[in-house]
Each structure stands twice: as C-alpha cells, then as structure tokens.
C-alpha cells in the first residue's frame, strides 16, 4: 500500500483517533532513486535546496547573487531555520574586526590547528582551511543581512584564543531569521512542510531532481498533499543537518546513545536525505562520531537556556562532583573530554549524579542568559556555600577547600589541577553569592555524514569522483571536524559550505 492510499484510508478526525496511535499507521516509504526518463515533472527550478538552516539559506542568497535565476528551498518542518534556529548563535572566525579591536593574535592556521587537535587527527584539514579562510566573509554576509552580534568575543573550550562572536539574541535564529528574510527579498522560493523522499537521476547518473511529499506533518509523520517531482536544472544541494534525533540510526553507530540520552536538536534532525545520498553511492564518513554537549542541563529540554549560560561561564566557574566536592575536569577542555568526564559522575548505585557548575553571581549576571536561567527555574542563586552544599548534597568542607584552592589558581594564573587556561578567569575569584546549574551531556552534533570536497561536491564511493548535480553542505557532511567538533565552528562551516555550493553551481562545475 502506498503512503498516500494509506493516508486516504485513514479517518483522522474520527473521535478517539489518538495522536499517539497515528504515527504507528504510517506506511513504508518507496526507496531508491528514480529515473528521469519515467518522471512526470511538476515543478522546475535551477537550484533546488533541501533544508533551511544556515547552509541552505546562505546557499540561497549566494546563488541569487551569482545570477542563478530560479532558486527554491524546501523545508520538511512547518517552520524555517532547521536546527540552526535553535542553536547557540556562536560563530568562530579568525581575523575579524572584534579580534583586531581586542588585540587577539589569530590566524587561519591557528584556528585550523585548534580544530585538528580536537578532531584527534582525523579531521579533514583541507576543508577546515577552506572554511576558516572564508569565515570572516560569511560573518559579513550575516551582518549585511541584519544579524547583530555582542560587542565582545568569547573563548570557547578547545580554542586557543578568543575568536567567537555570538548573536545578541544568543541564538542561531539571530542569523537564520535575517538570512530567511534576505532569501525572500532576493526572490528565493521558500516552502515548508515538504519532505524529501528521493533523488531523480538521468541515464548518465546525474542528479536532475527530487521527489517531495508536500503538506508534511512531522509530528504525525503524514503527508496530506501531493507527492511532487521537482526538476533541478543545475543542481540539488542537500543541507539537511544531522541525525541526532534519529535514535535507531544514532544508536546503530554508537550503542551508548539510546533513548535515555536526550538531544539538543530540533525534531527534524533525522538524516533521511543523508541516507538517500548513501543509496546513490556517496561515501559514508565518521558516522560513529556523535558529539554530546557538555554544557547542557538535565533540568530543561533541548538546548534550552542553560547551554549558553554554561558556555559563557565555564572559563570563570568550577564544575564540581557532588559526591566528592571536587573538580573533575578542565571546564574549557574540548566537548568530548568534558562530556566523558561528566558522564563518569555517578552515585553509589551507578546512577547519573549530574555535577554542578558554580559561578560567582556577579560574573554570571553579565550574560543575559543568567536572568532567564534563574527566572525559569533551571538554575539557582545561593547566598553562601553552606546552603548550596546542602541543596545538592555536596560535602561542605572538601567543597570549601576546592574553591579556595581554585581561587589560588585564579590568582596565580595557573590551574595545577587540570591545566585550564586561566586567561579569561583573571581576577574572577569564585565568591558568594553563587549561581548554580546542573550539567548532563546531550547528543548535539553528528560529525559524520557524506564525503564532500572543497567545492561542496558529493563524492561517489566507486569512482572517487563527484556525483554530477549533487552538492551537500553543513552537518549532513562528514569528516570536516573529525572525532569532535569545537564549539562555534558549525556556523562558519554551514555558511561557508552553503556559499561554496552556490558558487560551484554558478560556475557550472560538475
């Protein structure tokens, strides 16, 4: 039975058709690429973009600027922006105006070196260099579209210098919303509720279009519109993000990432377009490298408010094991190091004992996220250490000693416990009153995906050459970051590779 017949047969509005039961009724999808010669085309564009996050939106803008006439972005979800619209809005780039203002000595090579270190030797340097070289231009594209950034830089875990901008709304939506509006201004067609089904190839193997299910409702996994074949005269760009929300797929790659581990990602991050690229012959790269965010909180869903709060505060805070009252990690080590360290925080029965991040209230309140964290009850303020220790069951004396010890490191400029860079902690003693959040990692980013080259072309596994007509950009691609991506390096990657894909298509390659 096809999906459509199935849908027709359903009585969705009959009383008692519980929403929960409906997903179970969804029929199997047709799989595999179709042939252009048997295809009835419903619509035609020059460039078809699947996904409306950073990569898709940047590609849409650049494509129009490079003179590509008919550009369409199709989005599966009811709203535009993908996972990018709920990300932290942190953007790393070397050689920026803020670095000049703050006298930060940085370079493309230095940023690449930091990323290669975090990638543990298997990151693709060529792609990293291409992205770092173009990151400052991508930042300019965002600012030109109306994105606004805080007037200061942050130094995130694993970065050797401050090089991270952040949107004033502390969210990727501070970029996706302006880029989305810019796309509309430039005449890019944007259509929501269109679920990508499969690619259409011509007899030479070139990707010449896609099949889309329209009026798609992700929560019920039902398409209530026609299934259409959309022709792409000059190329198809897949910019669909990762698969953090596809529990079967992610736990097949990493069996520790079961339903018990939640995710920061938007519910649409399920990876079906990536799987279809594999069916076409794309090379799967690094699929098991799935990163958890060490700044997330078990007290709220998704990315929430705590993530940005922690990212800002980690440099001048202590993360404390509640059983021992001691630190257990370098608070600004790379994400994998910290997530692994946090997961080792267990009670005597082996159950999770989420550690606490303790920050001086006077410092925490300097970032707008602190107000939200306190207001919405996902973080707490304490007047003294005794009440804090009591609330979280932390032995008070060891905690006192630990904080005194750490404050010695702040004064001396050297962390003798974990080798944390104390640059940004200078003069910031941990003092009452305190703010506290709880930490527990959440699945955040898929380093793996399809192999691409520096032109955003997707590589075929048997020929080693680009698959004609097919491009990919952003989290759906693999290899760029190796084992573990550094924070704030996704936004430049998505934007630069989206722009790159548009330029490749405009240049007439592949």
């Amino acid at each position: 039975m096809t999906r459509k017949q199935h849908d027709r047969d359903r009585r969705r509005f009959v009383k008692g058709a519980a929403a929960a039961g409906i997903a179970g009724l969804a029929g199997p999808r047709l799989i595999g690429a179709a042939r252009a010669s048997d295809t009835e085309w419903h619509e035609s564009y020059d460039l078809v973009i699947i996904g409306s996050g950073f990569a898709g939106l940047a590609a849409g803008i650049e494509a129009r600027r490079k003179g590509i006439e008919r550009v369409a972005i199709f989005e599966k979800m009811p709203y535009f922006g993908g996972n990018s619209a709920i990300n932290g809005g942190l953007f790393a780039a070397p050689g920026t105006p803020l670095q000049a203002k703050e006298n930060v000595d940085d370079s493309v090579e230095r940023m690449v070196a930091d990323q290669v270190r975090s990638g543990r030797g298997v990151a693709y340097e060529g792609l990293l260099r291409h992205i770092a070289s173009n990151a400052a231009d991508a930042l300019t594209m965002c600012e030109d579209a109306g994105a606004e950034f805080h007037p200061y830089l942050q130094q995130l875990g694993g970065h050797s210098v401050p090089r991270t901008y952040q949107t004033t709304v502390n969210c990727g939506a501070g970029i996706t919303q302006p880029l989305y509006r810019k796309c509309q201004e430039l005449g890019v067609l944007t259509r929501n509720r269109c679920r990508f089904e499969k690619f259409i190839q011509d007899d030479t193997g070139r990707v010449v279009g896609v099949t889309l299910a329209t009026r798609y409702y992700y929560d019920r996994d039902v398409s209530e519109g026609e299934t259409i074949n959309v022709k792409a005269e000059r190329g198809v760009l897949v910019a669909t993000g990762g698969f953090s929300q596809n529990i079967a797929l992610r736990s097949a790659q990493d069996p520790t990432l079961t339903t018990e581990v939640t995710s920061t990602n938007a519910p649409g991050a399920t990876g079906e377009a990536m799987l279809e690229m594999f069916r076409l012959g794309a090379v799967p790269v690094h699929l098991a490298y799935i990163q958890s965010g060490p700044w997330a909180s078990p007290d709220e869903g998704g990315f929430g408010y705590v993530s940005n709060y922690s990212i800002y505060n980690f440099p001048h805070s202590v993360a404390i094991n509640r059983a021992t009252g001691r630190r257990f990690m370098n608070e600004i080590a790379d994400r994998k190091t910290r997530a692994d360290a946090e997961l080792a925080n267990r009670d005597e029965q082996g159950k999770p004992l989420p550690p606490v991040l303790i920050t001086s209230y006077s410092e925490a309140i300097k970032h707008p996220s602190a107000k939200k964290v306190l207001k919405y009850g996902v973080g707490w303020k304490f007047e003294d250490l005794a009440s804090l220790a009591k609330e979280f069951g932390i032995p008070l004396e060891p905690l006192k000693e630990q904080i005194d010890e750490y404050n010695g490191y702040v004064r001396g400029g050297e962390d003798k416990q974990f080798g944390k860079s104390m640059e940004l902690a200078k003069g910031k003693l941990i003092e009452a009153p305190f703010t506290v959040v709880r930490l527990w990692p959440k699945v955040h980013y898929c380093q793996g995906g399809v192999e691409i080259n520096v032109k955003a072309e997707v590589i075929d596994s048997s020929s080693g050459l680009a698959i004609p007509g097919l491009y990919a950009a952003g989290e759906v691609t693999g290899g760029v970051h190796g084992v573990s991506r550094l924070g704030s390096c996704s936004i430049p990657e998505c934007l630069v590779m989206g722009i790159t894909a548009a330029r490749t298509v405009a240049g007439g390659a592949a």
């Binding site: 849908d7 009383k15 939506a173 929501n192 509720r193 209530e224 998704g302 929430g304 009850g377 996902v378």
Partner: protein
C-alpha cells in the same frame, strides 16, 4: 469565489467579534475542549461544530486532513494577536509565542493550538515557560 471564501462570508465570526471576545475573556483564553456531535472542538468555535461546518476551516464538507496552514488567518489577524500577547518587559519581547525569537511570526497556528485535540505549545520542547491557560 472559491468554496472556502464563499463559506466564510456567511459563517464566520467577524474579526471584530474575535478581538472583542479575547478582550472579554482575557488575551490568553484558549477556550474549553467540548464534545460536539461526532467530534471534540473548542467552545469558541461552537457554531461551526454544532452545525457541522467543517468546510469553514477545511475547505471541504468531509475533511480527511488538516486545513491549509493559514486557514485560521482568514478570521484571525496575526498583528492583533502579536500585540495582544506581547510581554511587558523589553527583555522578554522575543518570548511572544506569536512573534518569537526562533521563527518570528511564521509558525503555523496548529503547531501550538489544537482545535480537535489538546496540544502542547512548540516551545515546551526545550523551555519551561508557563502558559497556564494553554490547554495541553
């Protein structure tokens, strides 16, 4: 005139009446879920449910699916709703569910409002906001 428009001209509450009822019952009133013949529905749309006027929103007499996105906006005005739900504090201005930080004013109504069944607002995926009058 297409079937939906034709239907609307004799069937709907006027936008003025909608705004008046919002003012009367408070800006956050969501209406009870009530049982009508063969279907549950919001009490403020009682007239349509009682008279079986599915077509008003769905465009067809016997709907098999959701109405088109934007159907609600044939009667309800986004700008008025945005104004009615604007938080007082400047720092909260992007927490207006109808013109929010992540998606602006573009989230289809049905993502947070259920006409025939209760629905949690989209933001509760990640946030602990308290919309106490929202029927989940």
């Amino acid at each position: 005139m297409n079937p939906i428009d034709k239907n609307l001209t004799r069937n709907i509450l006027s936008p003025i009446a909608v705004v008046a009822s919002l003012l009367l019952f408070g800006a956050y009133a969501f209406g009870d879920m009530k049982e009508y013949e063969g279907i549950d529905g919001r009490s403020y749309h009682a007239e349509m449910h009682e008279k079986g006027r599915c077509k008003t929103c769905h465009g067809v007499k016997e709907p098999e699916g959701y109405p088109e996105d934007g159907s609600c906006l044939r009667c309800h005005d986004v700008e008025e709703i945005v104004a009615a739900t604007m938080p007082d504090a400047e720092e909260d201005r992007w927490q207006n569910p109808h013109n929010n930080l992540h998606y602006g004013p573009d989230v289809p109504c049905v993502e947070c409002h259920g006409e025939h069944s209760n629905k949690a607002p989209l933001c509760t995926n990640c946030h602990s906001f308290d919309y106490s009058d929202h029927e989940y």
